[in-house]
């Protein structure tokens, strides 16, 4: 059993499952804080009802995010001790700031919020939720600052064990994070919107839940989601242009562009073949990739062959191209599910503006229930593109993944397998239980009376 392979699977599986919970926490904490603020301002019960109803979903999700997050904190020691030794001087600081600034804030105030409905004035209670939401989103900033160093090292010098902090401000304001954080933040808004809308649609279908509360939730979530999905795509576009310059190996693989082209075509659907370095069944649009990458229709875009040659010249012999098929398809699935989410929300917005409820369009309600999966697909594939697309590096240009793993003499393949299986199974079981509890919560909502249902 190769510990490296197992350690990579472990990190991938546990991190992707952890990131099922994160975007929803980021987005729904703010949405609920806005709703609770509306309750404080207007005193209308329907806002408070909505907050209380969705808080169950938020808290089940929050608990799963917290416990899987603890594992993340120690993962770098468990299976990646060489990485920890090499990166500690840079990587530990944002992690510690994340804990001190963000984890304390969100974890302390979420407890106050859950237990404080009768103990605090409405104003203070809403403030406490804002503090929780700010804490969660601050934690995203700091972990992405850490991740951004892995994508684009900056503000460092090389020392005896590895990288040494030279300029903390430069590490914290890495250009990469200026794209990455908004991308994740707006993805969180989108996720929260699709969860609220999808679960509301489910309630319309089973004819349960307070209709006024559901209508309100859907209307608000539609706007919230539209802002989220439009901005996540906009930021994503500029992030892509940034990556063309910063990580050409990732983008060349993500486009399955085997050879440099001027102007470069954009591929909509292809089956990349890594053996022959060609695409089978390539549906393409001429010159579009040049436009997407540089904003004009004639620029040259570097292909895999040229990137490989340049990186060999810089770093010595080796294979510097990430797995092309996975990178290409994770990129496409992210973008396509984003596009689909935009269309769904635009249609829902149109329905809302006409005063048509999803209850009257069961086919669309069903579609929106299943569409809950879309933001999760987009987030997971987005991270796959970010992390798999960075291979063979764990820290771009500085440390290869294979050199970051704990030595086999310290952590054996069997031990990694034990942690992979035990944690993996527990994560999957608990995710399943969490979903079951959410569904149970929906079925526990009061049945709509015939008069209220129409």
């Amino acid at each position: 059993m190769n510990p490296l392979v197992l350690a990579r699977w472990q990190f991938a599986i546990l991190t992707i499952i952890h990131f099922f919970f994160v975007p929803l926490t980021l987005g729904i904490s703010i949405l609920l804080a806005i709703m609770e603020t509306a309750y404080v301002r207007t005193g209308k019960e329907v806002y408070r009802d909505a907050v209380k109803f969705w808080s169950k979903v938020f808290l089940i999700n929050f608990a799963l995010g917290v416990v899987s997050g603890i594992v993340q904190e120690f993962q770098f020691g468990l299976n990646w001790s060489e990485y920890a030794r090499f990166m500690g001087d840079i990587f530990g600081a944002p992690l510690a700031v994340e804990a001190l600034l963000a984890f304390y804030l969100e974890s302390t105030f979420v407890g106050v919020w859950i237990f404080g409905w009768d103990k605090l004035s409405p104003k203070v209670h809403a403030t406490v939720l804002w503090l929780t939401a700010i804490g969660s989103n601050l934690s995203a900033i700091w972990i992405l600052i850490a991740n951004s160093f892995m994508q684009r090292p900056t503000g460092y010098t090389m020392g005896e064990h590895g990288v040494i902090m030279k300029n903390f401000a430069e590490v914290a304001t890495n250009t990469n994070v200026l794209y990455q954080f908004p991308h994740v933040f707006f993805a969180g808004m989108t996720t929260a919107a699709f969860v609220v809308i999808g679960l509301s649609a489910y309630l319309y279908l089973i004819k349960r839940g307070d209709k006024a509360m559901l209508d309100l939730s859907v209307r608000w979530a539609t706007i919230y989601g539209l802002i989220g999905v439009i901005l996540v795509m906009t930021v994503g576009h500029f992030q892509g242009q940034f990556l063309v310059r910063e990580q050409p190996s990732k983008m060349a693989a993500a486009e399955a562009l085997w050879h440099s082209e001027q102007p470069a075509h954009f591929s909509f659907f292809a089956i990349p073949d890594e053996q022959t370095q060609t695409n089978r069944l390539d549906i393409r649009v001429p010159a579009l990739l040049s436009y997407l990458s540089y904003g004009d229709f004639h620029s040259k875009v570097e292909g895999i062959d040229e990137v490989q040659k340049k990186m060999e010249a810089k770093y010595g012999p080796g294979d510097y191209i990430p797995p092309v098929g996975v990178t290409y398809w994770s990129f496409r699935l992210m973008v396509y599910s984003g596009g689909l989410m935009l269309l769904l929300l635009l249609y829902l917005w149109y329905l809302n503006s006409k005063g048509i409820s999803m209850a009257e369009k069961p086919w669309f309600a069903k579609l929106m229930v299943w569409s809950i999966l879309l933001p999760y697909l987009a987030s997971s594939t987005g991270w796959m593109m970010a992390e798999i697309g960075r291979q063979p590096w764990v820290v771009y240009g500085l440390l290869k993944t294979k050199d970051g793993v704990s030595p086999a003499s310290v952590v054996s393949g069997g031990e990694v397998l034990f942690s992979l299986l035990s944690l993996g199974v527990v994560y999957i079981v608990l995710t399943y239980v969490g979903v079951k509890l959410v569904v149970k919560h929906l079925h526990a909502a009061p049945a709509q009376t015939p008069a209220a249902a129409d």
Binding site: E73, F76, L78, A96, A99, T108, S419, L437
Partner: protein
């Protein structure tokens, strides 16, 4: 004080905060299925730590994160070396955290019982394993010239370390029972007080054996034995005072005395460690020290500013939460957990 020493002290402070706060949380979790016979009693017990446990747990996360930032080599050696115990602890903490949130969301007795025992195990294992880990760290473990732990899993289960684990368990049981005596009502607080008194006797016995055992294993090798003994002395005095307050029935003072005991024990053993952070039993020259395991001066300087600004703020708002939820929990209350 140089920055490396300052960070050694700050790591100690974070672990003290962690063991003080999670100490009673773990104690409450370990006592819950026994002290709580009926469902509403168990719920009342869980709700005593309901608003706090998540914030308390961040002390552990922060200790881990700060260890990574200030002594990356310590973090890397410790968590790759103590692999299996760490994985078991993470599994335990997962079940515990999810258990709080999930257990009362279904009515069925089987469901609630399952989560109650998972919460029990999820509180027992971290208490035991942190004791085992700290005892192993201060005693020294096989570490090679590349700072890698070479001892394997079973080497960690030596009698001294296991006794360290048991010490933590009984100490946290006492601390948790005292906390429950302050937070419960309906007669449960009297039972909790009784348990606290019994656990005090157990703690006294175990702690005395552990301290005596610590002399040849740890203290005789300490470079700053004086400072270590001062803190351990404070722990002993606090524990004796705890017994007196328990007898008087002054539970608030007993609780603080228990807290000072935890502080004294933690500080005493960290002081015995200094300036090592993970002594090597293979060859003293291979030991990790504050000098060869620490981050760069730049990182330490930044972390110092961050910690000195944020830790006091955290203490203020966490203190406010304890004030907000200062009332006792009755079994007749409307329960959140």
């Amino acid at each position: 004080m140089d920055l490396k020493t300052l960070w050694f002290v700050l790591i100690t402070v974070l672990f003290i905060g962690f063991f003080f706060l999670e100490g009673f949380d773990y104690g409450v979790g370990m006592l819950m299925p026994f002290l709580g016979k009926r469902d509403e009693e168990r719920r009342a017990i869980l709700n005593t730590i309901g608003p706090f446990w998540d914030g308390n747990e961040v002390w552990m996360i922060t200790a881990g994160g700060a260890l990574f930032a200030s002594f990356p080599q310590w973090y890397a050696t410790l968590f790759s070396g103590f692999y299996i115990p760490l994985v078991l602890m993470l599994l335990a903490l997962i079940f515990r955290g999810v258990g709080f949130e999930f257990r009362s969301k279904e009515e069925s007795e089987g469901w609630r019982n399952t989560w109650d025992w998972l919460i029990w195990l999820g509180s027992l294992l971290p208490a035991l394993l942190w004791g085992v880990a700290i005892a192993n760290i201060v005693r020294g473990v096989p570490i090679d010239a590349n700072m890698n732990y070479t001892g394997g899993f079973f080497n960690l289960l030596n009698p001294y370390a296991l006794l360290g684990g048991i010490t933590f368990v009984v100490l946290f049981l006492m601390h948790g029972a005292t906390y429950l005596a302050l937070k419960l009502t309906n007669g449960l607080e009297k039972q909790a007080k009784q348990i606290a008194s019994r656990m005090w006797v157990a703690t006294l016995v175990v702690a005395v054996v552990f301290l005596v055992y610590s002399y040849p294993e740890v203290l005789s090798k300490a470079q700053y034995l004086g400072i270590s003994l001062v803190f351990l002395g404070i722990a002993v005095v606090a524990l004796l005072a705890d017994g007196y307050f328990l007898k008087q029935g002054d539970m608030l003072k007993a609780f603080w005395a228990g807290g000072v005991t935890i502080l004294g024990v933690t500080a005493g053993f960290f002081a015995a460690l200094y300036p090592n952070v993970m002594p090597s039993s293979t060859n003293p020259a291979y030991s990790l020290t504050i000098y060869n395991a620490s981050a760069s001066p730049t990182t330490l300087k930044i972390m110092t500013m961050v910690a000195l600004v944020l830790v006091p703020i955290v203490l203020v708002y966490q203190g406010w939460t304890y004030y907000t939820f200062r009332q006792r929990i009755s079994t007749k209350d409307e329960m959140t957990y």
